[in-house]
Amino acid sequence: MLRAEEVKKDFPIFASHPGLVYLDNAATTQKPRAVIEALVRYYSTANANVHRAAYPLAERATEMFEEARRRVARFIGAEDPAEVVFTRNATEAINLVAYAWARRNLRPGDRVAVTLMEHHANLVPWQEICRERGAELEFIGLTPEGHLNLEEFEEILSRGVRILALTQASNVLGTINPVAELSARARRAGALVLVDGAQSVPHMRVDVRELGADFFAFSGHKMLGPTGIGVLWGRRELLEEMEPFLYGGEMISRVTLERATWNELPHRFEAGTPHVAGAVGLAAAVDYLEALGMTRVHRHEQWLVDYARQRLEETGVVEIYGPVRPRAGLLSFNLRGVHPHDVASILGEEGVAIRAGHHCAQPLMDWLGVPATCRASFYVYNSLEDVDRLVEALMKVREFFRHAVG
């Protein structure tokens, strides 16, 4: 297990807010001093625009930016740093594929498959591109426990799918999907596979080559990094074939008055001045996570989520959604008889930060038959005491509502 109290000391936010129990890590994580300092150091010692200027400072900025790319590539098992495209976040990475690949390649009647547990970021882009191209959007349903329905997966695949877009870990149910197995089957059936790794990369060891996907998207801010930096990893041969998503500076090779040719990978997909400091900060986050060890991070969260499940079940008044195993380090639940927003407001006053709402997964809320849920999501600085504080605060909510509502 990680020594959460020690880890917490690396995160200045907890010094600013003593006693804060932060359990909204699936939305965004707190930042360790190492990441904050990397940003300050970059702006204080190396700031210049990257890739074109010939003076030493710009060379230093470029080197730091490209070194960040190499570290991120290594972290996710990418063969070639040129396959790592920096974006603003996972949403932009998914949109990049939707626009640069799907919008150009889908034909009327083609099929795109997604799952019922997708975040809106991996649903709405496909809805829109399918509508525009006259393609069909197919939904892979769930078993009552909240796993993907593999029979439906096979059935949809057998009808022919151009692209399968699925999450590796659900931000609501906590389900971890068997992506390597599903990718292999989908690719054999001729589909491209895009994996939304926003809820997996921060919490477990991910190797994009082992997963066998074609595209992999994630966000920096959910893994201790800065906001505004994300990653699209793609197979080189696919990225090579793709036209740019955004046009402008940096992404071009030769421009005449009439037309332009495109720069090499990955710069073709990074129009304009990139978020250099963000990339440097993300690399610092990667270093921090690697020092903790991703296996330990994952085990730590498993330990917390198992304990939380047990404590919540013991109360007898909490309904928990999603499978027991395999499960990411988060729990969606409802306190019987109390609306999630009332729960979250009161918990907030008690110093326990959780999220209440639809978690950008409205179709999944419809499937669960609830308007919203509460969600507690764990990370490296959370401890068993944090879980105890959560349960205590929930019991206060319960008592208050019992008296007030009768």
Binding site: H339, P340, H341, D342, S345, I346, E349, E350, A356, G357, H358, Q362, M365, V370, P371, A372, K396, F400, A404, V405, G406
Partner: protein, 151 residues
């Protein structure tokens, strides 16, 4: 308790014993609004008399304590008032909730008890949902189709 200001006794009373909840027979205006942020739904139905007063008002819906209590309080504050006065009251309430102006004491009935919500910006949407629905119900004839929308 630090949340006393939000969940005042009056608010919880309206939540647990909502006034004017249910279906209104033969309404002459109705609207349903949905807050996509939290899944709250409120439907407001009204009937006006010949003299331009809101003779009857009912609400239905599901949601958090604040959205349901606010709807209940609203029906009490509105019933029997002239339509023009109701329009003014809606404006006053919305400005009050947004913290733009208005003294709590200037609001009729139990409404001042919702003042505590102003400290919770995401919850202001819960408190104003029914009021936006009433606004639409006053403009609309009966019955109007469900529409998405939020403050």
């Amino acid at each position: 308790m630090p949340w006393d200001e939000l969940y005042q006794e009056v608010v919880m009373d309206h939540y647990s014993r909502p006034r004017n909840r249910g279906e209104l027979p033969s309404p002459d205006g109705e609207a349903e609004l949905y807050n996509p942020f939290c899944g709250d739904i409120v439907r407001v139905q009204i009937r006006r008399d010949g003299g331009g007063r809101v003779e009857e008002i009912r609400f239905q819906g599901q949601g958090c304590s604040i959205s349901q209590a606010s709807a209940s309080m609203m029906t009490e504050a509105v019933r029997g008032r002239a339509v023009s006065e109701v329009g003014r009251l809606i404006g006053d309430f919305l400005r009050f909730m947004r913290g733009e102006d208005g003294e709590a004491s200037a609001l009729p009935g139990d409404l001042p008890a919702l003042g505590g919500v102003r400290r919770y910006p995401v919850r202001v949407k819960c408190a104003t949902l029914a009021w936006h629905a009433l606004e639409k119900a006053l403009q609309a004839g009966a019955p109007e189709s469900r529409e998405g929308g939020e403050e």
